[in-house]
Amino acid sequence: MSGPTSLRTRRAAGRTGQYLALLAYLVFLAFPLVWLVSTAFKSPQELGRIDPTWIPQDPTLENFRAAFDAQPLLRSAGNSLLVAGSAAVIAVALAVPAAYAMVRKRSKITTAATGWILVSQMFPFVLIIIPLFMLLKEARMIDSLAGLVLVYVVWNLPFSLWMLQGYVKAVPVSLEEAAAVDGAGRLRTLVSVVLPLLTPGLVATLMFSFVTAWNEFFFALVLLKSPENQTMSVILTQFLGAEGVVDLGPLAAAATLATIPSLLFFALLQRRLVSGMLAGAVKG
């Protein structure tokens, strides 16, 4: 049983087992993705085959053209860009001063705000969307992108506050004290000392808010009515329903396109995301 050789064999066996397990995970994670992209590039003839293949034998961009013809994809992508972009910028602009105050000035109100961030995660959307729907209807903001931006701003605020608090904590108080000693006022300190140091965190929070809003479906489904106002995720569901085998191509093509912006941003903020999520959780 003992001896260096058997130990080494056991180690090697363990390693092999680990690689096999990792491979199984990779297959589970990757196979739907491969299938989606492969379907997007298949010709109608190939989609109709009874023995489907993993790799398109004759890759074509036909599905992408068909997808653009079938639904107003460009317009909905524009809507999504506008809504997600404005919601992210507004939410972060509102959250920066608040996050700063919540970190540097502990009081009952800032504690309550932190509590609310956590509690708001618990509530089912129905309880929020019905009153919001009625409220926005009163204000004639149903079926308007501005109304959706408003909802997304509020939707993004809790997490933005959470992430930004973590980044504010990382800014040394001594720097601010030094600025105060040098005679800088409060606003001056905020703008020229704290803000520059916060920039990487700001960018990460912006990107995360953008992705959240870009991916969002439920609020857009409830609040938007007319076809020309729909966002990307709602338009995608228009492809569903009576899908013949041939329509699968354009569906896959549109779905692939809709993922690109989120993937891009996620790739950029990969590292920051993890630290950001945990940063808010670290004790202050």
Partner: protein, 317 residues
């Protein structure tokens, strides 16, 4: 107006300065400048989140409906009493619980396995880490569409693969079969939620002190013993937090299943949120839908109490 004034309760900074009027005010609440910083975020939260939520809760006790001309009336507990006799609602809740518990449990087990692997010094680890993040970035609608393609009865890769391996004879309608739809949907839920849980657990694992593991190994502790005595206690707080959050998110989830099955076949995958959505926006029964929302909160509250209390007791003993 010094920003750097220590907070009133800061300890270890010598004797506190004598309290001025402003300091007293700051101890109670906040000074004007801080209000100025907080208000831009507080107002939208109050107006569009706290307010509507309270209003939504109050709607549960009214007969609010869409497009009604006469004023809404207070009906007390009538909606909740109706819910008690609504068999469809109970069925939906049962499905919701099965879904939330299975997805949360599977997510945790699979994510822990993946996180442990990614924490090892394996080749291609960077590739696995990158790939593991992709489902997180994808819009839920796209995840739903993608799996519809995978599950497609005639042109789906799942049926094709299984029949090539001679595991099935006829093509299976994964999302249309009464018995298979819920498990099929749960698998998608696990796939979609795996990355976030993995990332959080991985971060927890990386905080486990290496010296402790090494010391345990030197003392002759095997792999399993090292895990139970060193790793598990260290990551337990993270595990509890992410599991509780996952359960809440899963129980409240909507988009994924809406795209996959719209609650079908025969209501077999109609999660509570889908039911409430139909009630509110297909039938316009706002009051009744709000009562369902309340019931959902009750379920979550009960779960959290049971879950966290057991954990706290374990912690204490």
């Amino acid at each position: 107006m010094s920003v750097a004034a220590p907070p009133p309760k800061a300890a270890g900074r010598g004797t506190p300065p004598p309290r001025t009027a402003r300091a007293r005010k700051a101890a109670l609440g906040l000074d004007g400048g801080t209000w100025f910083l907080l208000l831009p975020a507080l107002i939208p939260i109050l107006v569009l989140s706290v307010g509507p939520l309270l209003y939504g809760v109050s709607l549960a006790f009214t007969d609010a409906q869409a497009g009604r001309t006469e004023p809404t009336e207070f009906v007390g507990l009538a909606n909740l009493a109706d819910l008690r006799h609504d068999t469809l609602f109970w069925e939906s809740f049962r499905i919701g619980l099965v879904w939330a518990v299975s997805v949360t449990a599977l997510q945790f087990v699979l994510a822990l396995g993946l996180a442990l692997l990614l924490n090892q010094n394996l080749r291609f680890r960077w590739f696995a880490r990158t790939l593991a993040l992709v489902p997180w970035a994808m819009p839920e609608v796209v995840v739903g569409i993608m799996w519809r393609l995978v599950y497609h009865q005639d042109a789906g890769i799942l049926n094709e693969t299984l029949s090539r391996l001679h595991l099935i004879d006829d093509n299976v309608g994964w999302l249309t079969s009464l018995s298979l739809a819920l498990p099929a949907v749960i698998a998608v839920g696990v796939w979609a939620g795996l990355p976030q849980t993995t990332v959080v657990l991985l971060a927890g694992l990386q905080n486990v002190p290496y010296e402790l593991k090494e010391a345990a190994a030197l003392d002759g502790a095997g792999l399993w013993r090292r895990f139970t005595t060193v790793t598990w206690p260290a990551i337990k707080p993270v595990v509890i937090a992410i599991t509780a959050l996952n359960f809440i998110w899963n129980f409240n989830s909507f988009s994924l299943v809406f795209v996959l099955t719209q609650g079908g076949p025969g209501g077999e995958t109609r999660l509570p949120m889908l039911f409430a959505y139909e009630e509110a926006f297909a039938y316009g029964q706002y009051g009744y839908a709000a009562a369902m929302g309340l019931a959902m909160i009750a379920v979550i509250a009960v779960f959290l109490t049971l879950f966290l209390r057991r954990r706290l007791k374990e912690e204490a003993s």
